[in-house]
Subunit: 397 residues, 2 copies
């Protein structure tokens, strides 16, 4: 049994705010500023260069990776932190493509986050040998897993609609035709019950600043299945992935297993904040979080549909088929989100017409959902979004 009142108390949430955007940037763990202060003063300040060993900085990407492994159903020792999610997509995709050198298609879907598609385009340009990025609608992915597919590269949850792919089913299908899978867990790590080992995923990548609450710009992670871990060629072969980084050899020799997916110097300060978030994750299981997430999203949909007929549900109605977010379509969605933000309900907008709300059981309960639904109903019913100050688009929404 998870004590969700206790986990909620471990986050700082601003006064007067109901935060439904933890799927974009999670809130501050209350313990993080003090932990960061200690890392800065007692480790960086006092240990200086010796902190790499004495404070354990060098080992942290694998140690913290192990704590994330539990949350995504990965085998211990097969997840490592570092870089950004886009870089990790490149790493996984580059290694995966080399496992099927005679094929030319990367299959993805239009619900994948654009950066994943862009990184694939970039790699295709670098390789310059006629690879094709084939982007289909989310519901057409399965039918398009054909024998010409080299790599199936999918984000498990559609960042717009919250639609959840069946990782086990698609991975099985991909393997049947001899394709390799790269799963992006950006919207499922910390949100749903992910089981990369059970599903047989080849590679998985994700970020830690959304549901995992690691802070703005927190590092990404990568999982490589044990059967590939010692054979995957690291395309980004940086010194910390070398078998003996401090021997300063002139030629690269890949380190054992997941270590080879390390690239450069680890982001020590960012890891200090993430560690505090993972301490909170240690208090629960994904099964408990997922059950509560479904309760919260079901309640939200019920309340909004009852009060706001102008909002069209864009997320799957079946909770088993959606992640931990609920999206509605509304032509003036941008302005509506601004009006909500002005009233303390933080959701976000995704072009062209998606109003998106994330549900995060670690720091959100039924009373928050009830209160948010009430404010949304007030804004929508009274057209409060239809004011000039909500129409101007800022660069980031």
């Amino acid at each position: 049994m998870t004590d969700f009142a206790a986990t909620k108390a471990m986050f700082h949430l601003p006064e007067g705010v109901i935060y439904l955007d933890g799927n974009s940037l999670g809130p501050l763990p209350r313990a993080a500023p003090a932990r960061m202060d200690a890392v800065m003063r007692a480790e960086w300040g006092e240990m200086l260069i010796t902190g790499w060993n004495k404070a354990g900085w060098m080992a942290q990407p694998v140690e913290l990776g192990d704590r994330i492994a539990r949350l995504i159903g990965a085998e211990a020792g097969h997840v490592v932190l570092g870089d950004t999610l886009s870089i990790k997509v490149h790493q996984a995709l580059a290694s995966a493509l080399e496992m099927v050198p005679d094929r030319r298609v990367i299959l993805s879907d239009s619900g994948n986050f654009p950066s994943d598609l862009y990184m694939a385009e970039g790699l295709i340009g670098t390789l310059d040998k006629g690879l094709e990025l084939r982007v289909v609608a989310p519901e057409e992915v399965e039918a398009n897993i054909t024998e010409d597919v080299a790599v199936l590269m999918i984000t498990e949850v559609d960042y717009r609609t919250g639609r959840l792919h069946d990782m086990a089913r698609l991975t099985r299908k991909a393997h049947e035709v001899g394709a390799i899978t790269v799963w992006d867990l950006a919207h499922t790590a910390g949100a749903t019950v992910v089981d990369v080992a059970g599903a047989g995923a080849d590679f998985a990548v994700g970020c830690t600043y959304k549901y995992l609450n690691g802070g703005p710009g927190a590092p990404a992670f990568i999982y490589v299945a044990p059967r590939h871990a010692d054979t995957a060629r690291p395309a980004l072969s940086g010194w910390l992935g070398h078998d003996a980084p401090f021997a300063f050899e002139q030629s690269y020799r890949a380190g054992p297993g997941i270590e080879r997916m390390r690239v450069g110097t680890p982001p020590v300060l960012a890891m200090a904040a993430l560690e505090c978030a993972l301490d909170i994750w240690d208090m629960t299981t994904m099964a408990a979080v997922r059950a509560r997430s479904i309760d919260l999203t079901e309640l939200f949909i019920e309340k909004i549909e009852a009060a706001c007929p102008m909002l069209e549900l864009a997320s799957p109605r079946d909770p088993a088929a959606r992640g931990s977010q609920v999206s509605f379509r509304f032509a003036d969605g941008y302005a509506a989100i601004q009006a909500l933000v002005a009233r303390g309900v933080i959701g976000d907008f995704r072009a062209p017409d998606i109003m998106r709300f994330g549900f995060t059981p670690l720091y959100m309960d039924e009373s928050d959902v009830q209160a948010a639904a009430g404010i949304i109903a007030e804004v929508m019913q009274n057209r409060l979004w239809d004011a000039p100050e909500y129409q101007t688009r800022a660069r980031v929404t």
Copy 2:
């Protein structure tokens, strides 16, 4: 005139320590913990997702890049922060190679940091079209700049010996034969007078955790010459390098100029610490720092050579030909460095026999150099390094 007493007072240095390893990890700016606390509590904690605009997080990689531009002689608006140095090497090298598609040689030297060589090997493996990484001795680089060279990829200062390449001369020679240059400034940014614009460098990359004092794992930076900035293809084409990142288009369109070298979400917390370091850099010029650095290294060499005949100078004797470090060869260098660390003089060891000492005028003066030289003389003259506790090698030195 720089007030170096004032800059020194702005760093925290541990009691009883003389820190000659700022060329590996710079010390803590005293202002950094409070600044970090404010970013965590007032920005991440209170603004949450709105911090990307309200707190200016999204613009910081370019704003801080501009402050670094001044220190490396770059044109304003042509440096951007992000990722690690190894990733930035990959970015620069991948773009550079595409500018000379008919050539097959990447020329580097054995004084380049191994990770740069490893990243080149990794990219060559990815490209899989018979490129060659040609590694020559540092003093043979110029003679090897021949018409088959696609890219000259050099770290300006040799991390082992401190030997300084002539960037302007080698760049001119490279351009004469039609090659593109990628300069790694890891050991020169904040250490010597770098002039990437004056030298005509095509690409330059560097890190911010050494002489720039940004903290462990602080982000790297990349410079692209204005003449290439709008045409270089970004191989790592992440969403933040897109011309309209928040339009979430399905195809990549490179952003203007240096913006296209952004990849993923910026490391907000790491940038907070770096910002405090750059505030100190704003108090000086590289000309002033370099003049003082030469005074300090000359004094150090004089004192050590007078007292420690068993140490063989590995750095160039001509100060104009070396960076801001002094290295000595000594067969038992590993143990000697451990013995010095135990006595508060922090230098570092680089295999097989290099004892390396960095000089950092922002927080080091003549009295520090005198004191360090005295302790080194005591350790060497009395063979204090020859004790069992100094022989065991830890993973990081």
